[in-house]
């Protein structure tokens, strides 16, 4: 423990030193030094490292490490799930989209939200009743461990790494802008902190970091929304009227975001089923004691997320009236080249500038620190989910055939965490100048096409067999990856071809359908002896998934 004390002390001092050094060689595109932001961020890092130290003493077994001992309450877990979902990308991205296009931002928010009720109605309770640490536990419950776990772990790791790349690149740029730090330094700092939280504090630390951040983010966003509304005597009519004066009547109605019906449906499928296939979200359901708490988690999470999206909508409009055309936030250099009224740091900085407009330097510092905290909390959750896929699914279940002891499994997951941290840092730096617009879309497409169909059918479809799940799931995975590569973003924008082979931006409608059809076909035509046994085992699994009988005892050890 003494060693850990020293590491933490070193890190806190290191963080301060890094910020101090970042101020000397301030480059042009970096923001000026923001003292209150740095002070608040250092307080946050200090507090979260304190939590990690506390959690480390309570994290002894694999169960503690993966699920925080299973003692998180529904309300706490709801807050943590909401925290995972309210990433910096969705806070800055959606408020930025509202700022840019008005109503279109709301369309996105609604798509991200409506998956949650459906997760509650069909996934949450069986997931808790059947699983232990990862969603692969559920998928492989009555099927063959090795092939199903390998596929589920590949889907998880692919989703996690893609998501991590997006978060790392976003965080590097954001921190560069907010704190005046060098890009590489920012990426390394995020990577090191996340590895510390996860390896020492496991799920307990990751959950509490997420809860604290979610609370700070919701408080900050609430303050901003109230400040904006107070300006207009709490009348939406006057706020919108002024926004229309600034940007035109277009901000009040749907623009070109969703143009044709196929894209609209495909995006909807990706958002809804993708959410239900994100490993870091699914993993949170194992941190509560039973199905009842799992259910309450989704209820609270949906409330927090819905509230947050309403706030981002107000914040986006607040930015239209207070930041747009405000000389204080105008990017003069960019304006000189391309005209218009670009704001410093791009549209995704709208919420950050608004925080300054309503609360001055101090509140700007607070929101900047919260944005950084958000990144840290989300990448920690992702890394933990990736590490558990490696240690629990690949190492303990596939490699050791279920005979790994808790101590060595935990050791492997810590090694996997460090490895993922290094991968995240390298990829974050490698992708700095790349167009990563497709990355989160691809992560959602894989989650929706590979993870979700197997998970859903393993819970509800008696005739599912190992062969069907493996072939169908692989078809879904391959189709999703292929269609993203052949689609307009990668094929045209990145690879520079004239026309996309696959015309739609979102492949989910096609890849999810391919997965379901593949799983169905290769299951019903499977007449092997094992397939018969797998069908027979369904009944007992279904009873456990519906009632929880057998679940409590099983998750103890």
């Amino acid at each position: 423990m003494n060693m850990m004390n020293r590491i933490f002390l070193f890190l806190i001092l290191g963080t301060i030193a890094v910020f101090a050094s970042g101020t000397i060689d301030g480059e042009i595109e970096k923001q000026a030094l923001n003292v209150s932001a740095i002070v608040m961020f250092v307080i946050f890092v200090g507090a979260t490292l304190g939590i990690t130290y506390w959690a480390a003493k309570r994290t002894k077994s694999a169960k503690d490490f993966y699920t925080a001992g299973g003692g998180i309450t529904g309300l706490q877990n709801g807050m943590a799930i909401a925290g995972d979902y309210m990433s910096a990308a969705s806070f800055l991205g959606i408020s930025g989209l509202v700022y840019l296009k008005g109503y279109d931002g709301l369309i996105y928010s609604i798509g991200f939200l409506v998956g949650w009720p459906i997760i509650l109605f069909i996934i949450a309770e069986p997931l808790r009743n059947l699983g232990k640490y990862t969603f692969a536990d559920v998928a492989s419950y009555r099927l063959k461990q090795t092939p199903i776990r390998t596929l589920a772990a590949s889907g998880s790791i692919a989703t996690v790494i893609l998501y991590l790349i997006a978060q790392m690149v976003g965080s590097g740029k954001l921190i560069q802008l907010l704190f005046g730090l060098q890009y590489e330094v920012a990426v390394v700092l995020v990577g090191v902190l996340m590895v510390l939280y996860v390896t020492f504090g496991g799920m307990l630390a990751t959950t509490w970091v997420q809860i604290i951040k979610a609370f700070l983010l919701l408080s900050g966003a609430t303050f901003m929304a109230i400040a904006v509304m107070a300006h207009y005597d709490f009348s939406f009519g006057s706020l919108f009227a002024e926004a229309v004066e600034m940007k035109g009547i277009e901000v009040m109605s749907p623009g070109g975001l969703v143009s044709d019906p196929i894209s609209a449906i495909s995006l909807a499928v990706a958002l809804m089923f993708g959410t239900a296939g994100l490993p870091h979200i699914l993993m949170r359901f194992f941190t509560v004691s039973d199905a009842k708490e799992a259910r309450k988690s989704v209820f609270f999470a949906t409330g927090f997320i819905g509230y947050f999206y309403i706030l981002t909508f107000i914040i986006g409009f607040g930015a239209i009236v207070m930041v747009f055309k405000n000389p204080h936030y105008l990017d003069l250099a960019k304006q000189a080249i391309s005209g218009g009224s670009p704001i410093l740091g791009g549209n995704n900085m709208a919420a950050i500038h608004l925080s300054h407009a309503v609360g001055g330097d101090f509140f700007l510092g607070f929101i900047s620190a919260v944005a950084f905290a958000t990144i840290l909390a989300v990448v920690s959750g992702l890394t933990l989910a990736g590490a558990s896929a490696i240690s629990h699914d690949l190492y303990a279940s596939v490699f050791k055939k279920g005979n790994a002891d808790s101590v060595s499994e935990m050791k492997v997951s810590k090694m996997a965490t460090v490895a993922l941290g290094i991968v995240a840092i390298i990829m974050g730096i490698a992708f700095e100048k790349q167009n990563i617009a497709f990355v989160v879309g691809l992560a959602f497409a894989i989650a929706a096409s590979a993870n979700f169909p197997i998970l859903l059918l393993s819970m509800y479809w008696k005739k599912l067999t190992t062969r069907g799940a493996v072939i169908g799931g692989s078809i879904g995975l391959a189709t999703a990856v292929m269609l993203v590569i052949l689609g307009p973003i990668v094929w045209v924008q990145i690879l520079g071809n004239a026309e996309a082979i696959f015309p739609y931006k979102y492949p989910a409608l096609f890849s999810v359908t391919a997965a379901f059809v593949g799983i169905w076909f290769f299951s019903i035509t499977d007449s092997s002896h094992d397939a018969e046994a797998e069908r027979e085992a369904f009944e007992a699994q279904y009873i456990r998934s519906q009632t929880g009988i057998g679940a409590e005892g099983a998750s103890e050890h």
């Binding site: 109503y103 709301l106 369309i107 928010s109 609604i110 798509g111 939200l113 409506v114 949650w116 009720p117 459906i118 509650l120 109605f121 069909i122 309770e125 939406f236 009519g237 919108f240 009227a241 229309v244 009547i249 009040m252 109605s253 749907p254 623009g255 969703v258 143009s259 044709d260 019906p261 894209s263 609209a264 449906i265 995006l267 909807a268 809804m272 009842k292 259910r295 309450k296 989704v298 209820f299 949906t302 409330g303 819905g306 999206y309 309403i310 909508f313 009944e539 007992a540 009873i543 456990r544 519906q546 009632t547 929880g548 009988i549 057998g550």
Partner: protein, 104 residues
């Protein structure tokens, strides 16, 4: 779980009641959510101008804004409706099933 226990639970009227009531409730709520959402998203795809209709002649606020807000609140209310019923009725049935296998 052995075959005997499986058969016993399967034939328990409380279990059958739980499964039929909860499945139909979950499916209904899922369909309601999907219908509401797809009506919204397909309106945007086919007839975006419909959501751009002003609330009143002298207002810039379009009907799309309250509709969007209502869908967000509605999604949350649906989770509340499900949770409330599951916490009482479904959990009571589940406990009854659990007690019935403890008795012998």
């Amino acid at each position: 779980m052995n075959k005997e226990l499986v058969d016993k639970i399967k034939n328990n009227p409380d279990y059958q009641e739980l499964i039929s009531k909860r499945s139909s409730f979950s499916i209904k709520l899922t369909i309601v959510m999907l219908v509401v959402y797809f009506t919204f998203i397909l309106t945007i795809a086919f007839n975006p101008a419909a959501l751009g209709t002003p609330m009143s002649a002298d207002s810039v606020t379009t009907i799309g804004i309250p509709i969007g807000m209502v869908i967000i609140v509605f999604a949350f209310v649906l989770t509340g409706i499900y949770t409330k019923r599951a916490n009482s009725e479904f959990d009571n049935l589940t406990n009854k099933i659990k007690n019935s296998i403890k008795e012998n």
